[in-house]
Structures are given as structure tokens and as C-alpha cells.
Symmetry: C2
Subunit: 165 residues, 2 copies
């Protein structure tokens, strides 16, 4: 029994374990790789960039979303970040307590609340994002540019087919 297992070893062991079953190994390996990659990337970005600024991964995504889109309704922020509405309430509360975002109740529909970056939040993003992106760039540095493009396109089509139904 080996101590540690690389992705490749795991895939080989999987084949042996279930070789008597009619399974789609390519699909299984692809999705396992996606999940591991997402975890690894998130962990590294969190530790290297976010933690020194006392920012959560989710909190950063919220800030980043508002940075890109200027102002958004809470439901759209949640959907864009990939968390539930209820989760966003707590995250937004934390970010607001730190003065990084503002809540702006809608005048047209009083059920709605818009979120946007405060000046402090904007300044924070301006200073953090270049650093964040530099780490991103380093992470994908070993992957050929063309392969990276294919990967991104494949992931995108996968997201669409997975979210649609």
C-alpha cells in the first residue's frame, strides 16, 4: 500500500478496481482533475495572497465581482460567486463591517439591495489584484498557451452543460 498517490496512480488504481464495470474513465479522470485543481489553486491563492490581507476566498470573490461590475443586486452577486443567497448575507455583513463594501437599497424595488465597493474596498482591490494575478500567472506558467486555451474552452462548455440541467 503506497503512502501517497499522484493523480496518475489513482487513475490506474481506479481502472483496476472497477475494470469489470462498463465505466467512462475519461469522464471520471477529467472531473477528478478538475476538483483537485480547483482545490489546489484555491489553497495556494488563499495562502499566498489573501491570507496576508486577512481576506477569505469567498470574500475576495465578492469584492472581485463588485470590482468588475461596479454594482450588483445581492442575488446576482451570489449567483456569480457561486454561493447561496444566505451565505452571501453573512459574507457581505463581514465585508461591510470592515468598510469594504456598501449596501444601497434599491429605490425602484424595495425588496432589492445593491452592493458596491466602498472607496476603501476599491483601493484594496487596486492594490491586491495585481499581486493576485501574478500568482495566477505563476500557477499556469508551466502549461502551454495553446493547451491552456483548449482547457479553458472545454471547462467553459462543461460549466454550461452542467448548470443548464
Amino acid at each position: 500500500m503506497p503512502d501517497r498517490h499522484t493523480l496518475e496512480e489513482t487513475e490506474r488504481a481506479t481502472r483496476e478496481r472497477v475494470q469489470h464495470l462498463p465505466l467512462d474513465f475519461a469522464a471520471s479522470h477529467a472531473l477528478l482533475s478538475i476538483y483537485r485543481a480547483a482545490n489546489a489553486v484555491r489553497g495556494r491563492l488563499t495562502n499566498a495572497v489573501l491570507r496576508p490581507h486577512d481576506l477569505t476566498w469567498t470574500g475576495f470573490l465578492v469584492l472581485w465581482t463588485l470590482w468588475i461590475w461596479d454594482s450588483m443586486e445581492t442575488r446576482d452577486v451570489a449567483e456569480s460567486v457561486g454561493i447561496s443567497k444566505g451565505t452571501l448575507t453573512g459574507v457581505a455583513k463581514t465585508l461591510m463591517a470592515r468598510g469594504l463594501i456598501d449596501r444601497v437599497p434599491s429605490t425602484e424595488d424595495r425588496r432589492l439591495v445593491n452592493l458596491q465597493l466602498s472607496e476603501a474596498g476599491l483601493a484594496l482591490m487596486d492594490s491586491i489584484y495585481p499581486e493576485f494575478n501574478k500568482t495566477e500567472s505563476r500557477i499556469v506558467g508551466n502549461v502551454d498557451a495553446e493547451q491552456l486555451e483548449i482547457m479553458t474552452a472545454a471547462l467553459r462548455s462543461l460549466v454550461e452543460s452542467s448548470e443548464s440541467d
Copy 2:
């Protein structure tokens, strides 16, 4: 301000927002796609396959790991699944309470504990995994086989370069 944003729209908006900065857009889009894909895939598999069996995503990964490798020390299970040792303690406790796994203290090193599937756990995996894989296959169904292979390889090299340092 649009209501919903596709990955493509988000990438376009990102460019406009930060076009004055010297950034690596390909890297940013790639990692955003990975994260969204992982979330979407995990959500769909959880809802479609795991929830009916009252299984957590993490719990299933633990079972799956033990299914593939027969028996493992807890530290290796945690590392393989991508969670901390402390988290695994709780998850393993839950799975053991349901009689799906067994704890086997090591005789050679009394600090170590090995985990393995019980008979009930083995039967559960035998019945669930074909269904799980069928959904996996459906998710990647729209992606060309060759592109899928490139994507998987790119993700794998990305995991390695991201976990190494």
C-alpha cells in the same frame, strides 16, 4: 447593468475594468473557469446522485478513496481527498456511525489508524458508483474526446505545479 453574466461576459468585463494594468488574462480566465467548473460539477453530482443516498460530497470522496485503495492511514486519506486531518476525523466519525467504514489501529505504530470500507460500505459503493459515473459521463458528454484529454493533462500539470511550492 445586466442581470446575469456568463463566463464570457465576465471575462470581457474584466478586460475592460483592468485593461490599463499589465495582467495575465489567460491565467485569470483559466483559473476562474476551473473554479466554476468544480463548483458546478460538485453541485450537480451531489444533488443528482449523492443526496438521495444521504451522502456528503466529502463523505463520498472518503468512501471512494477507500474503495480504490482498500485500506489507508488516515493522514493519507485526508491528503488524497484534499481535506485537513482534523476534518477527516469528523467525517470518518460520521461514516463509522453509519457503519460504512471501520477503524483498524496499526499494530506496528500505535500512533496510526487505518481506515477501510466495511461490508456495508463496499456494497454501497458497488451500487452507487455506476450511477455516479453515468452522471459524470453525461456532464462531459458535450466535450470532444481529444479536447477532454488535453484538458485533463493540463489540469494535472497544473495541480503538480501548484502543490509543489
